[in-house]
Subunit: 399 residues, 2 copies
C-alpha cells in the first residue's frame, strides 16, 4: 500500500466524513504539538473544503506538567476567558471541531501528585464544551495520530508504522473507498440502535468476572450510533473509529459492582484494574491497582462526576477489537469493547425534557471506561422484569 | 562549555531579566511549534518564578501557508475575537509576554502570491498589541530559538550548534554571570541614550552609498535604550539581544533615499536590496531585488505604514555585529547595525501629547530594516543647522 499520501487521505476523511466541514465554517483543530504533521494536513484540507477560518490550537503536555508541578493551585482547573470566548464563537457561528488525540508521552505525569493530575483540567471550559455537544451546536470529530511514545506503550517499542497500520484498519483507511466503507458501517450501527430503541429496555444488566451491575435507563433514553446531526443539520461522525451504540442512563439508578476490563489513560495517568461500586446511582467505592487517586480527584470535581452519564455497547465485530490490541487510548479501547462513562450525560440522548431534568447526569467530567469482554454478558431488562440477551460471547444478539 | 543546561539558563535569562516576570502575573509565551523545547523551558521557569498562569501560544507557518494558499481572502488579515480577548486580559491584568522568534522554514512561503503573503497578518490584533507596547501595558521580551532551517539560511548548512554559539555570544550567555553582564550592558546603552537626549537634535542625516536621507525628530522625541519600564514599574528588556538606542521621529519630515544594507525577513519572505524614496515623510517609491510585492502589500495596510515610526542607532561595538554574520532575522540584524522602521511609532518615545497627536505614526505595521554599515555616516542636525557626527566608521561619536 502506498503510504506517501497517508496524512492527506486521513485528513480528508476527518474533514469530509468525520467533522463534515461545511463551506464558510469556523473550524477548530485541536492537537498536541507532536501531532503537527497531521494537524497541518487537516488545516490544509479544511481550507480546501471551504473553511472560513481554521483555528489551530496546539496543546503541550510539558506545559501542563509545569503547571501541575510549579503553578499555583488555583490555576489547575482554571478556564481562561479567551478559551471560553473561542467556544462562544464556535457556538454562535455553529462551527466545526476536529480533535486529534494519541498520547505523545504516556509517562509524562509520572511522579506527580495524582490528585493534582486529576484536577488539572479547565473545568468551566469542559462544562461549556459538554453543553455544546449535548445541544449539538457543533459538528465535530475525534481522531488519533500515532506517535513513537504511544506506539511504545502499545507494542513495547516505538513501532509507529505498526500503530499506523492498526489505525488504518480501525478507521477503514485500508479500504479502496473509505468514504463508501464508512457509509455502510454507519448504516449498520444505525440499524443496531434502531433495534435497541424498539425494545425500550428499562435497564441493562452486566454480569461476568468481578462485575454484577444494573443500570437503569430513562423511558425516553434513546440509543444512538454511527452519525450525529448538528443543530444546523450537518451529519458528522463524532469518533473515528466508532463501533458503539450508546445512550445516557438514569443517573439515579445504578446498583452493583463493575470491573474495568482494560487499562484507561486519564489526564496522562494510566488507570489499571479500576473497580467501581455503585449504590442508588452514585459511585460509593473506587479501587484501582494504579491511578486510583486520579480517578478520585476527578470524581470530586462535582456531584455529577460520581454518577453514570453513558452506557455503550460494542460487539466482537468491531474492527478495533479485531486488532487484538490494547491501545491505552480511550478513542480506540472504547470502540474495541463495551464501555460506561461516569460524569456528563448527553442531552440529545434523552428526549423528554422532564426526564432530562430529573435523570440526566450533569458534570464537567465525562470519562469512559471499558467493561466489555467475551465473558461479560449484557442483558436488557424490560419493565416487566424479562431479561433479553443483548451481548453473549461478545456478539450482538438482537435482530 | 557545558551545554546540557543551555535551555534552562536561556529560559531563566528570558524570564528573569528579559520579561522580568513578577509573582502572580499572567504570562504569554509565543512560539512556533518548532521552538517547543525552549518554549517548555520558559513555561517551567515562568511558573517557578511565580506566574499565576502561562498561556503558551504556538503558531505554525504551515497553517499560515494553508490560509494564504486556500483560505478566503477576508481571512488573511482577520483578527479573531478570542485572540483580542487574550490581549484584553494581558492589558487589564498587566501581564508579561515572551515571544520566541527564529524562522523554522525560511522558504515556506516560496511560490505564493507576495501581495497575499504581505497581507496575511491579523491586522487589528497587531494594532492592539502596538498600542499595548506604546502604553507600556505589558512587560515583554523577544528572544530567538535556533532551528535547523534558520541555521541553513545563515550558514548554508543546518549547523544549529554554530547558530547557538553566535546566539550565546549575542545574548551574553557565554558570560560566567549573564545577569551581571546584562546589567553593565544596559547601563552603557542608557548612557548613550542620555547623550543623545542632551543634544536635542532636530533631525538625523544618513549619508553613504545609495543613501541620502534626512529624518525629522519631534521636539519631545526621547531616545531610549537598554531597558523599558512597564506602567506597573516592571523593568524589562524588550529585545534580547539589544544593542540599539532608538526614538520615534516626526512622521511628516523624512526626505531622500535610503538603501537597506542587509536582507530582511518579512512575513516569511526575504526582502533583498530594499530601497525607499521618501518625500514629506511618506514613502513614494519602493524597489527591491526580491520581495518588493510583500513590502508594497504591507505598506498598503494603512496610511501610517508608509511613514517612519522608529530610528535606531547601533555602533560597531555590538556583539551581534561582531559575529560578522547576516542572521536573516530582524531581532539580530537590527542589533548588528543601525535601522529604521516604517509603520507604528512608540507613544512612550514622544513625551508631548500634542506632538504625539500631530507627528507620531500610527499603524498596524512596524517593520524594521537595516541601514547601517561602516561607510554610512549618521549626523545629528541641530535646529540651527549645525551637523554633529553621531556615527563614523560605525563608531558612536558623542561623549
Amino acid at each position: 500500500m502506498d503510504r506517501s499520501d497517508r496524512l492527506e487521505r486521513y485528513a480528508e476523511l476527518a474533514v469530509r466524513v468525520g467533522a463534515n466541514v461545511g463551506r464558510g465554517q469556523l473550524v477548530e483543530v485541536r492537537a498536541n504539538v507532536e501531532h503537527a504533521p497531521l494537524a497541518r494536513a487537516i488545516v490544509r484540507s479544511a481550507y480546501q473544503n471551504g473553511a472560513r477560518y481554521v483555528q489551530l490550537n496546539y496543546s503541550d503536555n510539558h506545559a501542563r506538567r509545569a503547571l501541575i508541578e510549579f503553578g499555583p493551585d488555583e490555576a489547575l482547573n482554571w478556564s481562561s476567558p479567551w478559551s471560553l470566548r473561542f467556544l462562544h464563537s464556535l457556538e454562535s457561528e455553529g462551527g466545526a471541531s476536529i480533535n486529534i488525540v494519541g498520547d505523545p508521552e504516556p509517562r509524562i505525569f509520572a511522579g506527580l501528585d495524582g490528585a493534582k493530575v486529576g484536577r488539572a483540567r479547565p473545568l468551566h471550559y469542559h462544562e461549556v464544551w459538554g453543553r455544546l455537544v449535548g445541544e449539538k451546536a457543533v459538528n465535530w470529530t475525534i481522531i488519533a495520530c500515532p506517535t513513537p511514545g504511544w506506539a511504545s506503550q502499545v507494542f513495547g517499542e516505538p513501532d509507529v508504522e505498526r500503530l499506523w497500520n492498526a489505525l488504518e484498519t480501525s478507521v477503514r483507511l485500508d479500504e479502496p473507498d473509505p468514504v463508501a466503507a464508512w457509509s455502510d458501517h454507519i448504516d449498520h450501527l444505525v440499524e443496531r440502535a434502531r433495534l435497541l430503541n424498539e425494545r425500550r429496555f428499562d435497564s441493562l444488566r452486566y454480569r461476568g468476572p468481578g462485575t454484577n451491575l444494573s443500570v437503569g435507563l430513562l423511558p425516553s433514553s434513546t440509543w444512538h450510533g454511527g452519525f450525529s446531526n448538528s443543530q444546523a443539520g450537518r451529519r458528522h461522525i463524532a469518533n473515528m473509529p466508532t463501533e458503539e451504540v450508546f445512550t445516557s442512563p438514569d443517573r439515579r439508578r445504578a446498583e452493583g459492582v463493575v470491573r474495568s476490563t482494560r487499562p484507561l489513560g486519564l489526564n496522562g495517568a494510566l488507570i489499571r484494574d479500576l473497580e467501581l461500586t455503585l449504590h442508588d446511582g452514585r459511585v460509593v467505592k473506587v479501587t484501582a491497582s494504579s491511578g486510583e487517586d486520579v480517578v478520585r480527584a476527578q470524581m470530586a470535581a462535582d456531584p455529577g462526576a460520581q454518577q453514570l452519564g453513558e452506557v455503550a455497547l460494542v460487539d466482537a465485530g468491531s474492527r478495533v477489537g479485531q486488532t487484538g490490541l490494547v491501545f491505552f487510548n480511550t478513542l480506540f479501547d472504547e470502540n474495541a469493547t463495551s464501555h460506561i462513562a461516569y460524569g456528563h450525560g448527553f442531552a440529545f440522548a434523552v428526549s423528554s425534557p422532564t426526564e432530562r431534568q430529573a435523570g440526566l447526569s450533569q458534570s464537567a467530567v465525562h470519562t469512559d471506561f471499558m467493561v466489555g469482554a467475551p465473558d461479560i454478558e449484557v442483558d436488557g431488562l424490560t419493565a416487566e422484569g424479562e431479561a433479553v440477551p443483548i451481548l453473549r460471547e461478545g456478539r450482538f444478539q438482537l435482530d
